[in-house]
């Protein structure tokens, strides 16, 4: 009888340890799921922004070419200057937004490339704002600034894609971790349950034995 009780107690301890471990693993799994889901929603947002910026870079190339092609406007200084500004404006706007956004992210602290890009972009924005309207600069100055702006935009796209790709790899890792942890947790709970069933069986056996002893 004492052996049965001692064995039951060992089983009970195993079941207890299994349930504590199962809670820990389930907590880890849930954390990984949360991490994967939040990274996913960031990814969706960033992907969309990359496409916007991509489109703007291509569009600015088109606008640049259009500026040469619109011969009716070539004669009109105002129209030409308006075109020059419009080529710049959307890309500069995006760079300003990106600086504000990236400065508040963790990526900014860990990525040297990104930090350098933010610094370069800030210098560019200060210079741009000093000039005011880009229309007032000469053709050479315009070409230099245009090349700088295009470089910054393209650099950002490369960095953003790299960040996105590493985030995607992180999501895959999180999902795998969550799956593993949840499987372990389920198995541990199953072991705890089997232990409980054993304990229950042993207790029933003990009860019946005790009843029989009493009846004798």
């Amino acid at each position: 009888m004492f052996k049965t009780i001692a064995f039951s107690l060992i089983l009970a301890w195993i079941a207890l340890c299994c349930s504590i471990l199962a809670v820990f693993y389930e907590y880890t799994a849930e954390n990984n799921r949360y991490e994967a889901e939040s990274r996913n929603s960031y990814q969706l947002r960033d992907n969309q922004l990359i496409y916007f910026r991509d489109r703007e870079v291509i569009r600015s190339n088109v606008q640049h070419s259009e500026m040469h092609s619109e011969f009716f406007f070539k004669k009109n200084g105002d129209s030409l200057n308006w075109k020059k500004d419009s080529v710049f404006k959307s890309l500069v706007g995006f760079i300003k937004q990106d600086i504000a956004y990236l400065q508040n992210t963790e990526d900014h602290k860990n990525n040297k490339k990104l930090t350098k890009w933010i610094e370069d972009s800030k210098i560019f924005i200060v210079e741009y704002e000093k000039v005011g309207f880009i229309s007032s600069v000469t053709q050479n100055e315009f070409s230099i600034r245009w090349a700088k702006l295009k470089n910054l935009s393209e650099e950002y796209l490369v960095i953003a894609r790299e960040l996105g790709d590493s985030r995607k790899k992180g999501i895959i890792k999180n999902r795998l971790n969550a799956e593993r942890a949840t499987n372990i947790s389920s198995n541990l709970i199953l072991i705890a349950f089997i232990c409980e069933i054993f304990i229950f069986g042993l207790l029933q056996l003990l009860e019946i034995k005790t009843e029989r002893r009493l009846m004798r």
Partner: protein, 264 residues
């Protein structure tokens, strides 16, 4: 003495049955709860994968939109290049590209962009390079997540090959190319790009729709699992209550017996 009381009343059998039933109901409740716990973990896993699938489907849809915009931009670019080349081709329009035109301009800041065939070709090459880069990088970036998009690789390869072929054609012909030849090459490139991009767009759209359909099926499955889990939990509670009732009956019968035994 106890034996006599027990045998007389036949209460011993009832007591043992009560204990056995209580144990059986308790074990059934445990079993059902265990099954419900397993369902919960399955529900969470399916929910996470469903969310991922939905995000993937949305990302593909966004890319389709982006590709459509790129097509439109290419058409606009083509039009602007053809106009520029047209200005260069027709002598009566050449005054637009000369310095005199700038000098005749009244505003002091009016600076005409002097155009040439070389500048136009450079612009074309920059545009092709940019288009190649973004199309390739974006699809590769999407492929990190989605292993089952092999069909896109073939279509993407075709598109990139078409763009590279045109790029080489422009580079090899260089500045010696005649304006009509450049216009024709650009037209061919646009046709090529549009047909390949359309095929790629269609394949991505189909994939995105298939993913969307799958998310709906998965959601129905999740909802079924959730209702199953709820029913299991309720049944578990029902068995727990039955087990408790049996225990209560056991104590209701057992305690008076003990009391009677201790009184005597």
């Amino acid at each position: 003495m106890t034996e006599v009381i027990w045998k007389k009343t036949g209460i011993n059998e009832i007591l043992i049955r009560c204990l056995i039933f209580s144990g059986c109901f308790g074990a059934t409740a445990l079993l059902i709860d265990q099954y419900a716990i397993q369902q919960e973990s399955m529900i969470r896993s399916t929910q996470t994968s469903n969310y991922q699938l939905e995000t993937n489907s949305n990302m593909l849809k966004n890319y389709v939109g982006h590709l459509a915009e790129s097509e439109q931009l290419f058409m606009n670019f083509n039009q602007s290049i053809v106009t520029r080349l047209g200005i260069m081709l027709y002598e009566e329009m050449n005054f637009l590209n000369t310095q005199e035109f700038t000098e005749n301009c009244e505003e002091p800041f009016c600076i005409t962009f002097v155009d040439s065939k070389e500048i136009a070709i450079t612009d074309i090459l920059i545009f092709i390079e940019k288009l190649k880069e973004t199309t390739f990088d974006n699809v590769v970036s999407l492929r990190i997540f989605m292993d089952d998009l092999e069909v896109l690789d073939i279509l993407l390869d075709d598109l990139i090959k078409a763009l590279t072929f045109s790029e080489d054609r422009f580079v090899s012909s260089g500045a010696e190319a005649q304006i009509p030849e450049i216009t024709q090459n650009l037209g061919l490139l646009l046709d090529d790009f549009l047909s390949h991009s359309y095929a790629l767009r269609q394949a991505i759209e189909q994939k995105s729709d298939a993913m969307h359909e799958k998310t709906i099926t998965e959601r129905a499955f999740i909802s079924q699992l959730m209702s199953k889990k709820q029913i299991l939990l309720l049944i578990g509670v029902f068995f727990q209550v039955l087990s408790l009732i049996c225990l209560l009956i056991f104590f209701r019968l057992f305690l008076p017996l003990i009391a009677r035994y201790t009184d005597k």
